[in-house]
Amino acid sequence: MSALTFNLKKRTDQRVDMSPLVCQKLEGMAPADIGSIELQCGKLKLRADELFSISGEATSHIIIAGSFSKLDFIGKELQEGSITVEGDVGAYLGQSMKSGRIHVSGNAGLYAGCEMKNGLLQVDGDAGDFVGAALPGNKQGMKGGTILVKGNAADRVGDHMRRGAILIEGNVGDYCGSRMVAGTIAVMGQSGRYLGYAMRRGTLLMWNKPALPATFSDCGSHTLAFLPMLFKSFAELNSKFADADVAFNRVQRFGGDLAETGKGEVLVRL
């Protein structure tokens, strides 16, 4: 069976809630029924077949072609299956996804992978603010799985993150790892201001020495045994992180944020 493909017919002026078009919700549905699904677009409701030409049957693999930056909530609560997006996506990509894979060839908006629980979310372009973060008012962000951003990520990456890994091949903005509860964020590029602001636990793994707040203290240089295992776990990714040559186990360790509990760490490659 070929992948269930949604080919965008026209770009809307208003944002579109794509959350109904997720693998487990479409399983077993006839093509006509899928076409009749109503999607919220601003204050209007549009039928899926008004917005997309639909082909293919395999609901376990969805392709969204011609996507653009106003398609929100793609892959929300995804459970099993995979979603491939050709183009950009809007906000809340893969929100609370439970398993499966989402691959976006373009850029992602705000809150990509927010509160995700498991699975793999890959963005080939750049990602907006609050990657893997908690929704406003919530206390726990991402709780598991892996987010891979091959471009840059904006501010507040992993805000309130609880578990899992966020891998950024490019640069990150300000407040990376802010209020982090636990988990791992790895950044190959440069980082902005207030790295690890109010983080409680967790690991920020940096390829380049960041400008750290005064509330982080130098714990010296160390060889850490868990790092080779961590890198090995990235081996299956289509990413620079999978390259054995980028792995290291020698780091400068900074403990913080001492304005919080101080049990977090920033590990900088030596």
Partner: protein, 298 residues
């Protein structure tokens, strides 16, 4: 049955169900992984007084270990799951956590999970860090030489303990040489350990004693110095008997180990003073696993 002049008794070894587990110890080099493994499996020859039976299974190449360092796999067996978990944790805490550069990992994934480093983490006094990598939870415990990395749990599986055979020889050096040859071959078999010192036990026991407080005592029927004063099982030319005890993850694993061990002994043959191979049992009434020597060597 006679192999190379060695008579194989028409008897069987009687073994028992046990709970078993495996752990992998790694270190900066093989020397320190082995030191830690030897400490962890020390004083673990018999459940009678040690609480468990443990031994080194084999040395692991760095390519076989989770952290890519030289390692040693060890196995621990106990009569019950509770006892196994307690022994594993106590030994890991005192012998691996304390050993320089060591790290500790699960050696079996499938089965009931029991704590490996799950509770040792509290040694970190709040500075310990959890990392979940590929679905497995690890703990990084800060220690004076850096960090002690340990997997949170390992699996407990149904196992078999007490497979054995006896080597009856014309002299003590000949019995020992035969057992050494057997152990060398048996250590190549996976999933088994020989828990006694060097894999060999010279004080095989029988059930019961003239002293009421003792549940077991010397196996006088196989003691060569008592040939004339007890109901002996030894012929006049036998001057020394040694036993090899095997614990394994399955009956088939013990079968294999016994086969290669007995074969190694028989390869030395009668010309090197090896006269008989026998086995220890309790009449077949206590243990559900019976290893018939002649079937194994057929």
């Amino acid at each position: 049955m006679i192999i190379n002049g060695v008579s194989i008794d028409d008897t069987f070894a009687e073994a028992f169900p046990m709970k078993g587990t495996r752990a992998i110890i790694t270190a900066q080099n093989e020397k320190w992984a082995m030191i830690s493994a030897q400490a962890m499996t020390g004083f673990a020859t018999s459940v009678i007084a040690c609480g468990c039976e443990a031994g080194i299974e084999r040395v692991l190449d760095p390519s076989e270990t989770p952290d890519g360092r030289p390692g040693v796999s060890i196995m621990i067996f106990a009569m019950g799951g509770k006892g196994l978990a307690k022994q594993l944790e106590t030994r890991a805490g005192q012998c691996v956590l304390t050993s320089p550069t060591s790290a500790l990992f699960a050696g079996i994934d499938e089965g009931k999970q029991i704590p490996l480093g799950k509770n040792l983490r509290y040694f970190g006094d709040g500075f310990q860090i959890a990392k979940k990598i590929n679905g497995k939870r690890y703990w990084r415990v800060p220690v004076m030489d850096g960090e002690f990395l340990t997997e949170a749990t390992t699996a407990q599986v149904e196992s078999v303990g007490g497979g054995n055979f006896l080597v009856l020889a014309e002299s003590q050096p000949q019995a020992l040489a035969a057992c050494e040859a057997a152990i060398e071959e048996m250590r190549k078999i996976p999933n088994v350990i020989m828990p006694f010192p060097g894999g060999v036990v010279r004080s095989g026991s029988k059930v019961g004693s003239k002293y009421p407080a003792l549940g077991a005592s010397t196996n006088d029927a196989f003691c060569p110095t008592l040939k004339g004063v007890t109901k002996t099982d030894l012929s006049p030319e036998i001057e020394s008997v040694m036993e090899i005890v095997i614990d394994g993850l399955s009956k088939e694993d013990i079968d294999k180990a016994m086969r290669v061990g007995i074969q190694a002994v028989c390869d030395l043959g009668a010309e090197n003073g090896i006269k008989r191979i026998s086995a220890g049992n309790y009449g077949g009434k206590l243990g559900p696993f019976h290893f018939h020597l002649r079937e194994i060597m057929a």
